[in-house]
């Protein structure tokens, strides 16, 4: 198609605007990573000297290390609980003629859209009556109910792509249901289960609101520690902590896109 100067200008303007919006999205991450390596420890440009001392601070501070350890314990436990619960439910929901299917799946997905403060306050009311506040099990339960809808969604998505004729074929040749599941269904839905697990892990690692309502002094997590510091005055160590979390998100992002590709 022939391009007029005006439409070329339009394309250029569109490209420039898109570049600016992408810059807006990336700038905060780039800036915080740069500051984590700045040796004078303030949040201003230009950066004259580089240093790793804020990382040394982060990795030698007992408070930060306890927070990192708590965050990892919670994220791993949440993933281990949410993944099988969500996968089983998604397998159950895959039956197309299941009575009440729409209603059940709406209920299972509500934690994803309910305002997180409401979840936090409600859990605070209920868990404080049962002695679950300020305990790891309480926090794991809280994080799991926020994370599990993602597993249901990702596994359901791959299940809709599963060719039901494969299951009929396996059954008609006399394979027992469990064998069919292990040999036919599982290999197909495994990428979906893995992305659900990644989402659960990321959800728990990111969670701060429910944590603030339920955690005691023994369950300080990385985001909660960052929240406390960010409310007061920023220290350069928080930039190092933020960079560690950004590195974790890069790993999670790469893993999820690899899974997404193998899925297609």
């Amino acid at each position: 198609m022939r391009q007029t100067p005006a439409s070329r200008l339009g394309h250029f303007g569109l490209g420039l605007t898109a570049a600016l919006v992408l810059a807006f999205l990336m700038a905060p991450l780039i800036v915080i990573v740069l500051f984590s390596f700045k040796d004078s420890g303030d949040f201003t440009f230009p950066i004259t000297g580089w240093s790793l001392k804020w990382y040394r601070d982060f990795f030698t501070s007992p408070t930060w290390m306890a927070a990192l350890q708590n965050s990892l314990i919670l994220a791993v436990s949440t993933t281990l609980l949410a993944t099988p619960l969500g996968t089983m439910a998604a397998l159950g929901l895959a039956a197309p003629q299941l009575p009440g299917r729409r209603l059940i799946s709406a209920f299972l997905l509500i934690p994803m859209i309910a305002p997180v403060v409401i979840v936090g306050v409600g859990m605070y009311f209920v868990f404080s009556m049962t002695g679950l506040t300020a305990t790891f099990p309480g926090l794991i339960l809280g994080h799991t109910s926020l994370a599990v809808p993602f597993v249901v969604v990702t596994v359901s998505a791959v299940l809709t792509g599963l060719d039901r004729r494969l299951l009929w074929a396996a059954a008609s040749m006399g394979a027992p249901p469990l064998l069919t599941f292990r040999k036919v269904t599982l290999p197909v839905i495994l990428p979906g289960i893995a992305s659900g697990a990644l989402f659960s892990f990321a959800t728990s690692l990111d969670e701060v609101v429910v944590t603030m309502f339920l955690a005691g002094p023994g369950q300080r997590t990385l985001p909660r520690e960052m929240f406390t510091i960010a409310r007061d005055t920023l220290t350069p160590t928080i930039a190092a902590a933020a960079t560690v979390l950004i590195a974790a998100s890069i790993v999670l992002l790469i893993a999820s896109s690899v899974l997404g590709r193998s899925n297609r």
Binding site: T17, A18, F107, P111, S249
Partner: protein
């Protein structure tokens, strides 16, 4: 075959049951507790049981019957310190003077000689006023709409009907309005930023688009707290943006970008932008670019073709993204708390404050109920729109 089908249904239910029961306990029960706390009003009934019974049968006009006075005198003498303290807290939502009134009346009743029927109005003239007794009746429980009305700045008066709680002052309604304002501003700005970006991305090759989308996905996967902290560093008085603008000579005084509405909107738009980009890009990619070119070749001006051909086709994506951003932003808590000032806090902040700070659980739950009802209804609207247009989640 029929037997096999029934077995399949049972097996499906059995697979769903663990998660169903899990969410029943960890999600539905907690939310149910909020609903219950928003209507439950137990303090007066616990502290003054006979009085509560008398108040329930009184119509709230004029003064209650003598039996209510007698019941109150008996109840007040019998009540223990803890129950009286929690009743005082409940009635102080109505009027802070109640604490002193209840305590002094109890003291005087205990000092009075036994036998003679006490005259409460003589002990304190407030017991001769209709408004004192109305406040007691509103708290008579065991359930009532006092807290929900409070959250809407309303109050029930048994003589004149439901009216403003504090004439000329609408504290919670202004918080709700502010929450809506912040959410709609965020949604509109996010749409304005996402639209050109998606229009650009939609016409790139798959390879380029997926590469550029990494710049959307990385912030999306990064912790909200990390992003908010980064904005704190960027927006400070001597932060990156102010230094940059001052070095360029655009301004000579640092602009106030933090702890005000500007900072909140910038940080919220940043957090919510991917939620706008994904549905918008999906709808822009699904349309046929040849239609737009056909309109141009038939003589339409680019603007006319954009308005009449392109826009109607991307509208479902625009609606889905905008509604999504609006609904999710309504419930934000952490970001406004860190980058906003006292005048920029949203409804979630007050729900948390009344839950763990001032321990006014009835009010916290009522505000929570309002937020939940608004969120779920808008979510239902969004689902209906998506189903009608056939775009979005399959």
């Amino acid at each position: 075959m029929l037997k096999g089908q029934r077995g399949g249904v049972l097996r499906s239910y059995a697979l769903i049951a663990p998660l169903f029961l899990f969410l029943l306990a960890t999600f539905l029960l907690p939310v149910g507790m909020i609903l219950w706390r928003s209507v439950s009003d137990p303090e007066l009934r616990a502290a003054l049981p006979a009085t509560a019974a008398e108040l329930s049968s009184w119509n709230g006009q004029g003064l209650p019957p003598a039996a209510a006075y007698a019941a109150l005198a008996t109840d007040l003498k019998a009540v223990d310190g803890a129950s009286l303290a929690s009743l005082s807290r409940r009635l102080s939502y109505e009027n802070p003077g109640f604490r002193a009134l209840l305590q002094s009346t109890k003291r005087k009743l205990e000092a009075a000689p036994a036998g003679a029927a006490p005259d409460l109005v003589a002990l304190d003239p407030q017991w001769g006023a209709n408004k004192t007794w109305q406040a007691m009746k509103r708290a008579a429980g065991p359930v009532g709409i006092y807290h929900i009305l409070s959250a809407l700045d309303l109050k029930r008066d048994y003589e004149t009907g439901i009216g403003p709680a504090r004439p000329g002052q609408a504290l919670y309604r202004s918080i709700i309005l502010r929450t809506f304002m912040i959410a709609s501003t965020t949604a509109i700005i996010a749409l304005a930023l996402a639209f050109p970006l998606c229009a650009f991305l939609a016409r790139q090759s798959d390879r380029v688009r997926n590469l550029l989308l990494l710049m959307v996905l990385l912030p999306f996967w990064t912790s909200i707290l990390v992003r908010t902290t980064a904005w704190l560093a960027l927006l400070q008085d001597r932060g990156v943006i102010n230094t940059l603008l001052m070095d360029m000579g655009v301004i000579d005084q640092p602009m106030k970008l933090l702890y005000n509405r500007i900072g909140v909107i910038i940080a919220l738009v940043h957090v919510m932008l991917p939620f706008m980009i994904f549905p918008l890009l999906a709808s822009m990619r699904s349309i046929d670019p040849r239609l737009f070119r056909a309109a141009l070749s038939l003589g339409a001006t680019p603007f006319y073709a954009f308005r009449r051909v392109y826009l109607p086709q991307v509208m479902p994506g625009v609606m889905a993204g905008t509604l999504m951003v609006f609904v999710v932003t309504l419930g934000f808590y952490v970001t406004p708390m860190l980058v906003g000032g006292p005048g920029d806090q949203m409804i979630s902040y007050y729900i948390a404050l009344y839950t763990t700070g001032t321990l006014n659980w009835g009010l916290a739950s009522s505000l929570g109920l309002i937020l939940l009802v608004v969120t779920l209804s808008l979510y239902a609207v969004q689902n209906a729109l998506l189903r009608r247009s056939g775009v979005g989640v399959r």
